[in-house]
Amino acid sequence: MFNFFLFRVVQTDPIGSLFRGRNVPQETLENLRVAFGLDQPLGTQFLFYLRESAQLNFGISYQTRQPVWDEIVAAIPATVALVGVSAILSAVIGTIGGIIAAWRRNTWKDHSITSGTMVFYSMPDFWLGMILLVLFAVVLGWFPVGGVSTAGSGESGLALLIDQAYHMFLPALTLTLAYLGEYTLVTRSSLLDVMGEDYLTVARAKGLRDVAVRNRHAVPNALLPVVTLTAINFGFVLSGAIAVEAVFSWPGLGKLTADAIRGPDLPMLQALFLLFSAAVIVFNLIADLTYSWLDPRVEGQ
């Protein structure tokens, strides 16, 4: 509901801004307004919006004149593949890095891991993408400059899959490096919190080796916040890569958003925003559920 008013109340004249002052006959503008239902009073528009949203009918894109929902559905697989792979890789690598850093704290390993991840964490993700793109695709020519597969090659099956993975390498590397830092820092501080606990002293007193103490006793207890972070981050998966997808012209939801901004293509932005919010809400719920399942102490509260 908020979604509707955000777009309607604040916006000026979508049809007017569509043409940006180009010389278009007044009559054409009026016809377009009627076609998009913008001549109706606000209340009628709102009721219409509610009914149509429930049926996944988000209207026609101002830019391409295609149904918004069809374009979104077509873009979902590319985003889920790219951001899903990067999210999993960064969670796994970041957590391992955090464990090493905490277990060997204040050594050169800790310092290089912590400062390295902080540097990646501090740069705009799309800028990292631009640098990697120029270095590996333009200068060295090892990877393609963008897109999801080689156009017109007519490959299928395994060859197509390999081609797509090859195209995905640079954007996935960018996103993995960009997401890594958060996992490393959270894992590290969470493990450091656990490391003073008595049960680790007990485990050592039993004569367990260092590796066993770490993997069996320390890490499982330290991973709780990391699990929550992972679940919450997956909620942002759909909306996470807007600028990076634009840099690599990866045809997913992010690029759709970036293109819609240039319009501005309001029906498109509106539907995307609804989808992004829904994803976050669903994964927050999953995070809550897994948390109380993993840590029974939470249940009572």
Binding site: Y121, M123, W127, A243, I261
Partner: protein, 297 residues
């Protein structure tokens, strides 16, 4: 009485500074930040503002797409403007938007956090529902939507960043106010007949100030990175070019395919340095404000 409190506060500030000085990463961050602040303030001395105007650049006979070896310290762009001038003047916009948006974020977050924590009851419940709603809504898409609906202007960008990033501050401040409220001196002040506003101003606020400051320093990187991303997506102010705007123009006009690295590397490095500086300072302040953290390190 007042002078005693003043003295104590000055002593606290001195102690914080002493602790801060002993932290190497904090001092590095402060040094880097001061360097960039000086550059932003001294912009007119470092680069002629007219260099940002393509008409002037053409009249000067600047070459197009010139690498640093051929022109100035950092070369020129697709419409013959000096990249060095864009870097120097862009630092002003990036720093200003980052700081102003953070002030707004902290202001909204602190006011809501203190009201919710101190008043409690129904206002607390309502404010926390609103906060949760803002936490759940995806941050960047909301900022994008607001920015594209409001229009491309520096003040709108500041408003958008402030209005989307205050919730975590509000929650943090609220939690801190709740613990301070339990302390004995608040009860004492109340039994002496102090009004609510007196308690907040004289007892609660000084005790959450350290946390607010540390949180503010850590919020600046988020503001700067958000501004950069919004500008990169084409939502930046056309009349006030930030570092993000430079990156957008470089990307849109094909600097990458031409391998014109001098066009987009400096702006990104500038953002990286400033964000890193604020993060280092913020983490040091956080350790001082919350000693439990430094024990773990």
């Amino acid at each position: 009485m007042t002078s005693l409190a003043m003295q104590r506060r000055r002593a606290t500030a001195g102690r914080v500074w002493k602790q801060f000085r002993s932290s190497r990463s904090g001092m590095i961050g402060l040094g880097v930040l001061l360097l960039f602040v000086l550059m932003a303030l001294a912009a007119p001395l470092l680069a002629d503002v007219r260099e940002l105007n393509p008409v002037y650049a053409r009249a000067q006979g600047n070459p197009q797409w010139a690498p640093p070896s051929e022109f100035g310290p950092l070369g020129t762009d697709y419409i013959r403007r000096s990249v060095w001038a864009q870097f120097v003047w862009g630092s002003r916009v990036s720093l200003f938007v980052g700081l102003a948006a953070t002030v707004l974020t902290i202001l909204i977050g602190s006011v809501i956090g203190i009201i919710a924590g101190f008043v409690g009851g129904k206002p607390d419940a309502v404010l926390m529902r609103v906060t949760e709603w803002f936490l759940v809504v995806p941050f960047l898409p909301l900022a994008i939507v607001l920015a594209s609906v409001l229009g491309r202007n520096v003040w709108n960008i500041i408003f958008v960043i402030g209005i989307t990033s205050w919730p975590s501050t509000a929650r943090l401040i609220r939690a801190q106010v709740l613990t301070v409220k339990q302390r004995l001196f608040v009860d004492r002040a109340r039994s002496l007949g102090a009004s609510g506003s007196h308690i907040v101003g004289q007892h609660i606020l000084p005790n959450v100030m350290g946390l607010i400051l540390a949180n503010a320093t850590l919020a600046v990187p988020i503001s700067i990175l958000t501004e950069t991303t919004l500008a990169f997506l084409g939502l930046g102010d056309p009349s006030a070019a930030s570092w993000g705007k430079t990156l957008e123009e470089a990307f849109v006009n094909g600097a990458m395919v031409r391998n014109a690295w001098w066009y987009f590397v400096p702006a990104g490095l500038g953002i990286l340095a400033v964000v890193l500086a604020f993060t280092l300072i913020g983490r040091t302040l956080e350790e001082i404000a919350n000693p439990r953290l430094s024990r773990a390190r």
